[in-house]
Symmetry: C5
Subunit: 89 residues, 5 copies
């Protein structure tokens, strides 16, 4: 899994039926020190994460194991809001 922070949302009307009602968030991957990495990922929120919160994102087929994503065409899901990151290099 990676760590990211929520930057915004995607609005899409014309989409796969199994995406109806799903919240599509834009997540910026971050480093352990909180600085931004390059790029972004669009992930389905499954835990009610809020704007700019630090979240944990799962990718690949395991994104379909997140709550409510079974058999959905999604490859990225937010599965946790992060309280603290404890590390020593």
């Amino acid at each position: 899994m990676i760590i990211g922070r929520i930057l915004g949302t995607i609005v899409s009307t014309q989409k796969d039926e199994r995406l109806q009602g799903k919240k599509l968030l834009i997540v910026k991957p971050i480093n352990l020190d909180g600085s931004d990495q390059n790029g972004y990922v669009v992930a389905v929120d499954t835990v009610g994460a809020g704007f700019h919160e630090k979240v944990m994102v799962v990718g690949g087929s395991s994104a379909r194991m997140a709550e409510g994503n079974k058999d959905c065409p999604v490859d990225s899901a937010i599965i946790g809001v992060i309280d603290t990151i404890d590390f020593t290099t």
Copy 2:
């Protein structure tokens, strides 16, 4: 998922039987500000996306969860046309 814009199409006659009738589009991944990223991906259109529209693309095994792709040899599918991208860095 990633965001991209549609650049064109691939025509292939000699192909896997389960690709018959599928629209194979060339998608250019883009950044949140609309600028192009490097590279491209060939994705199956499953939502009737139009030329140069911004779309959402799912990759990996989840591309087979998109409408009509069950058990197909595809690793990339267009699953939504994007109306708006709202974000604050």
Copy 3:
């Protein structure tokens, strides 16, 4: 999927039993303008592609959905010979 051109073949006698009889081709990924990308991939040919032809390659678990690859230990398969690539940047 990606686009590539066929560079050659791999010969392997001591291999997984489910690879017996499969044609293992070396594919060079190419850009939309036909120029080479870095790297290469070894893919199972499932459509009878010829030397130096432009082909479409599927990766990951979906390579096992290509004709004849069910339950095989392959992560890359050629699934189409490309006739034309039509695009406008």
Copy 4:
């Protein structure tokens, strides 16, 4: 699989139900000579690895094959503590 060393832990209260009780560790990928690579990965510990130990990490859907991860939304798991790395370049 890759080799990494454990840097720390992630604490998350608001998370997917199937992550309850799982130990989420921050792993730094390393080179064969023991030097750090860029980046990090958050992995579920399934073997009781200790702080700063060298571990083996599996990614993708196979992370769900590790002990206790069946059907969990995880894409990275620690599956072994490394005793020795023997190699000659």
Copy 5:
């Protein structure tokens, strides 16, 4: 699949039960001309490959399709010893 050469072995006592008895080899990915690429991968040997031999490596969920890897937490497997690589750029 990729091509690599075997550099060495990993010894791990404290590991996932389904890895018991499996040979964990360190593989260096190589270019078509035989030169080394960056990085390495730890792969399960399933064909009895020898030290410094050129091998074919499969990644992702398909590594579990290799002989003896069913339901194992492995994302990389050696599935063939390479006799010859024939190519023309």
